[in-house]
């Protein structure tokens, strides 16, 4: 390729050559030359095979220009074409060759005509998309079941359908030097705080990366605490969750090609929330929340506390319990720590194996895990029976909070290591480290553990419990610019 940037010239043949040069060795580029039989004007359309919908090209592009009888060959016929002839939903006249390439790569069709140094980009995007389905990781009992797909426009439409206000803004950006991926910021003007929005925009602009294939690429670039195991953004696949968060003043970030949508700023307590919480009776929802918080504490603590009680502080175990643990440990060849560590590792291996394999095989893995390993290990007294219960409780409670699945594994082993060295003292030390770390985290200026230390009802109304909706008279103050929900009676200062 020569160094000078190619330009669109007046000659159709030259233009065709230019495009062909750029797309050398790329056989998906389709070129179709046509000539109007009534007035002899020559046209050429370009599109990329598979990205463009051939039905649109046939019916809405080729047919109008070939059947046109009135067009005269003058220098401005291209704008006449765009406004009067072509009947695609978009027909933009573009002059720059870079724009031509971008439009082509997006799946649009480019129309060149004779004696014209402009071209028309016609919307003809039409590739196969996945249907809207219920996301398997975020199933709900009640409430909307649709989930995002890989297509950005579909995703945006799903949000727009839920929030029909002119204040809902979609702001597009392009990230990725090679992939030119479209990124969309979505927020409600007047609710989202400008300083957060500006920070996000400037951070996204600063990103220099080859490609964005999933929201996680963006998330890691935005993260202010790159070494922390906690993410300071939330991800979801459900439009109703995103809409709910946008309504609280948060900003959603969508990426073309990923069904996961990121919302920010986020709080730790959001991991304990499920979209069901807002669709179920608030009593039930509050119980669910408390269960999830309890489950989080259990899943990181149970192995560590069990280990410290059994091998350091036997005097703290009630006598009958100690006796039954004592009798079941008879003949177990491993130290308690090793026994616990190996079983937990085994569980993680089984879980990881189950995630990756196809459905039917996944079931056989769980049978192998539960029956063969569990029962056989106890039968052979390789492990004691209470240990299976401990690991079982740990495993089940970890399923209560799927969004923290990776984090709890690290925390669990961290606490287990500490308590294997120092007993309960080590466990408490580890918990302190975790709590201090959590309280030092900030998500785009908002403390990660915000409101969890408050005792005011209006502040904790949507944290440990889910208060009735009529009680939520204020939006979270730290998130939204305008925190009164006037429609349900929020007045005065909160």
């Amino acid at each position: 390729m020569d160094n000078s940037k190619p330009i669109i010239s007046n000659s159709l043949e030259e233009n065709i050559k230019t495009i062909q040069n750029i797309f050398q060795k790329d056989d998906t580029l389709q070129i179709r030359r046509v000539e109007n039989q009534y007035n002899g004007i020559k046209y050429c359309i370009f599109f990329i095979f598979g990205m463009a919908d051939s039905l649109v090209i046939n019916e809405n592009i080729l047919k109008p220009i070939l059947d046109n009888k009135v067009l005269v060959d003058d220098s401005d016929h291209i704008s006449y074409l765009a406004s009067n002839v072509l009947d695609t939903s978009q027909a933009n006249i573009i002059k720059d060759i870079d724009d031509v390439l971008n439009e082509l790569l997006m799946g649009n069709t480019i129309l060149f005509t004779e004696n014209c140094n402009q071209s028309i980009a016609l919307s003809s995007i039409g590739w196969k998309k996945r249907n809207i389905e219920e996301p398997p990781t975020e199933r709900v009992l009640r409430g909307p079941r649709e989930g995002f797909t890989e297509d950005l426009t579909t995703n945006l439409s799903m949000i727009r359908r839920k929030i029909q206000t002119k204040e809902l803004k979609f702001q597009f950006m392009t990230v990725g030097e090679r992939t030119n991926t479209k990124v969309c910021l979505c927020y409600i003007n007047g609710l989202a705080k400008e300083e957060i929005l500006n920070t996000v925009i400037s951070k996204i602009e600063d990103i220099s990366i080859d490609g964005i294939l999933d929201i996680k690429y963006l998330q890691e670039s935005l993260d202010e605490n790159p070494f922390s195991i906690f993410e300071i953004t939330m991800s979801t696949e459900k439009p109703d969750i995103v809409a709910g968060r946008i309504l609280e003043g948060r900003i959603a970030v969508l990426v073309n090609g990923s069904p996961i949508v990121m919302t920010l700023p986020s709080l730790f307590i959001e991991h304990m929330m499920a979209s069901d919480d807002y669709y179920l009776n608030y009593h039930m929802a509050s119980i669910g929340r408390l269960l999830r918080i309890f489950g989080f504490l259990l899943t990181i603590s149970v192995p560590a506390v069990y280990l410290s009680l059994i091998s350091f502080h036997q005097e703290m175990v009630p006598t009958p319990l100690l006796i039954s643990i004592y009798s079941s440990r008879a003949g177990v060849p491993f130290p308690t720590f090793l026994e616990l560590f190996l079983l937990l590792i085994t569980f993680e291996v089984l879980r990881e194996a189950g995630v990756r394999v196809p459905g039917p095989i996944g079931q056989s893995i769980s049978i192998v895990g539960a029956l063969v390993l569990g029962t056989a290990a106890v039968d052979a007294s390789f492990v004691s029976a209470p240990m299976i219960i401990v690991v079982g409780i740990t495993a089940i409670t970890s399923l209560l909070i799927p969004s923290l699945a990776g984090v709890v594994i690290i925390l669990r082993f961290f606490l287990l290591m500490l308590s294997s060295l120092l007993g309960i003292y080590g466990y408490i030390f580890g918990m302190l480290v975790i709590v201090i770390h959590l309280f030092s985290l900030r998500s785009f200026g908002v403390p990660y553990m915000n409101t969890l230390t408050s005792f005011r009802m209006q502040t904790i109304k949507d944290t440990y419990i889910r208060a009735p909706l009529w009680y939520m008279r204020y939006r979270p103050k730290f998130l939204s610019k305008d925190s009164k929900r006037q429609t349900i009676g929020g007045k005065g200062d909160e």
């Binding site: 059994i310 350091f312 502080h313 005097e315 440990r329 308690t336 106890v378 007993g423």
Partner: protein, 384 residues
Amino acid sequence: MNRYIIFLIVIFLCLSLSGCWNYHELDDFYIVAGMSVDKAKDGELFNVAVEVINSEETNLKPNIESQVIEAKGVSIFDAVRDIIKISAKKLYWSHATTIIISDDVAREGILPILDWVSRDQEPRLNMDVFISREKTAKELLSTITFPTVIHSFELEHMVTESKDYIITPIIKVYELTNEFGVPKIHSVLPAVQVVPTSKGMSNRISSGAVFKGDKLIGYLEEDNILPYLFMKNKVNGGLLRVINKDFPQDKIILEIFESKTKIKPAFSDKDMSLDLEISTSVNIGELNTKTNIDYLSKDGRKILRKEAEENLEADIQKVFKTVQEEFEIDIFGFGNEIRKKHPQIWKTIEKDWDTIFQELKLNIKCNIDFRNSGHFSKPIEVLR
């Protein structure tokens, strides 16, 4: 960067060089349930038997059994350490509940036992202390047990879980050592004997063992325990027997819910007396009458109340007199009440308290409050 590396090294050394503080595997020791202390036959030595929980691996079913290991030593600690030579595993004392002391050891003094139990870091101070009325204390560890296979836990179960139903002077190690520290107070410990059951011999909490200082001097018989507890303000429950003195064939059993005894010292020029104000609430548990008196009618209730109060008062006076004459020491803690309420007077009489106690008079005022009469409001009639 260097600082981080040094920091990491410091953390690593702290964790690894300190070793695993207090780390011991569960199966490296025996859990001790209780101990008994006897005199060895050859005089000076103690014979300590320890009941440990042994577990045998049998087809997944948790199977625990009691095992008694015995050793001799010049002191308790000496003997306890000697047990490891037999058991191979270390003994773990934090879950021990029971100390049984034989009669002959108790008569020489129980302080050496309490000293080790309180001084060592593992045994708990809330262990229960019992005195064996059988020949040895060890045999109580090998009787039949009902609530659990472990003999020591049976006695502990009696005095903790069932303390509202049985009448016994419960005392823990720390209470005992506290009482030793109060001048002129003497303790009563529960005594245990063996009774036959259909399966064999089993333990039974019976009388109270009276201590002067740390030495056993005699036993308070079973019938005297309840009046003793009334005087000590330690009644949690139990049954009150009422026998109408005009019609001794009428026996009424009252179930005690709660009771409170207020002790007020009263001084006069010549002598000293104590006012005991006992308020007890009861339930009519059993109405075993042969006469035609309706104890539930308005007049009958008055009679019942009067009889019950008089009965209780007479019982207490009787036990008080027995203690004054037989043991000649204050086992009720009356001296302590005077010390708390009139510390100045106590200072002058402390020296002579034992003699004053023998002349002491009790003015007892019982107030029995009937809560209800059970499911029936009348005696069951037999019309034949």
